[in-house]
Symmetry: C2
Subunit: 195 residues, 2 copies
DNA sequence: CCTTTGACATACCGATGGTATGCGAAGGTA
DNA sequence: TACCTTCGCATACCATCGGTATGTCAAAGG
């Protein structure tokens, strides 16, 4: 009977491959992870891997897609919980900074992403997930008259890059006040934008 | 006769390897460049390459060192030509942004660097070259009372990351006003820092 | 000269990403 | 139920690439 055994099994294998490869990519970096490790961790063979993904980089791209989605969802949820464009904007930035502290996000999204897929494709993926929210928030601030009218795109990249690098630094330092210091500095920068 | 033929030849080979590999790394990215291409372009064999460098990543590290030095020198020279800490600071930032527009710098320093060598080592190399100037300039601004006293390190990373990402975006866009827009936005951010 | 040293070239190896093919069970059809 | 098709995956295999071990010949040195 067509009870969907095939589809369920297929989906199960795909999820396992994604989950295990994500762990390995995050822990050791894309270049240091061998396909043999991934399929061993997932309990399948290379045949299964290549049945689901075209290449090692395509598998990585799928993993990166997951990470992007998760970060984007967190940012959107946090921002939507606030009232007023400025509060939504700052809350979203803080949520992004916090989300980017996760080691998986660090290695996969910030370090390997641009190098493995190329900066252009990485940018496009990021655009569809987190950077879009940032651009929208900035646009809302300008519409509300809180920010002077100005091109949104360069500002988006400046702030996005600042938060990315700050997150990487936060992960590398062990100063417990680092997060507060970084957020304070970032807030000061944002103050320069208000009309 | 010991006229230094050996030393000159050795240095010549090393320089050629660095120059040719730099071209290839910049053009195609670290992962897409084969050692066979490099040695062919340099007119030598793999024996020569491994006589001068321990591994492919060691060769890349040497190339990255060159790029870092060049960028750091440009930033320092531009900043030193100005008078007053604020002028030195902004001139240095602008010089860095311009220098980072070069495709070699983009691919080697900003994209592949962290992924190939790991973010920690990359950070250390960057610290010795360009980021150090930024931190010193910020310290001078605080000493001069232009900026409020605050931890310099997080601010360094925020600004460095902002400029890195902005530079990558500048290279990907074809809007001729992009550079001016980006600099205007960056200047606004800096305004938030002044006391 | 004769020996040593060093800057390579040559030949080779193991590992790894990727492919071609085989197979057994799920799912449709009569 | 018998049969055929499809599909999800395993097995076997290949080509390439980073890395190494060894050979070679000219410069350096006494």
């Amino acid at each position: 009977m067509a009870d969907g055994t095939r589809a369920r099994q297929r989906e199960q294998t795909r999820r396992t491959l994604l989950a295990e490869s994500r762990k390995l990519f995050a822990a050791h970096g894309y270049g240091a992870v061998r396909l043999a490790e991934i399929v061993r961790a997932a309990g399948v063979t290379k045949g299964a891997l290549y049945h689901h993904f075209d290449s090692k980089s395509a598998l990585f791209k799928a993993v990166l897609g997951q990470v992007h989605e998760e970060v984007g969802a967190k940012v959107a949820a946090t921002a939507d919980a606030e009232d007023g464009p400025w509060e939504q904007f700052t809350a979203g930035c803080r949520a992004f900074l916090l989300a980017s502290t996760d080691p998986d996000v660090q290695q996969i999204m910030l370090i390997d992403g641009p190098a493995v897929l190329g900066w252009t494709l990485w940018r496009a993926l990021d655009e569809g997930a987190s950077a879009r929210h940032l651009a929208e928030a900035l646009g809302a601030l300008i519409d509300a008259g809180i920010l002077d009218p100005q091109p949104v795109e360069p500002l988006t990249h400046l702030l996005s890059g600042a938060m990315n690098e700050a997150a990487l630094w936060l992960a590398a330092t062990d100063d417990p006040r680092a997060l507060d210091d970084a957020w304070a500095a970032f807030s000061r920068l944002l103050q320069g934008l208000v009309a």
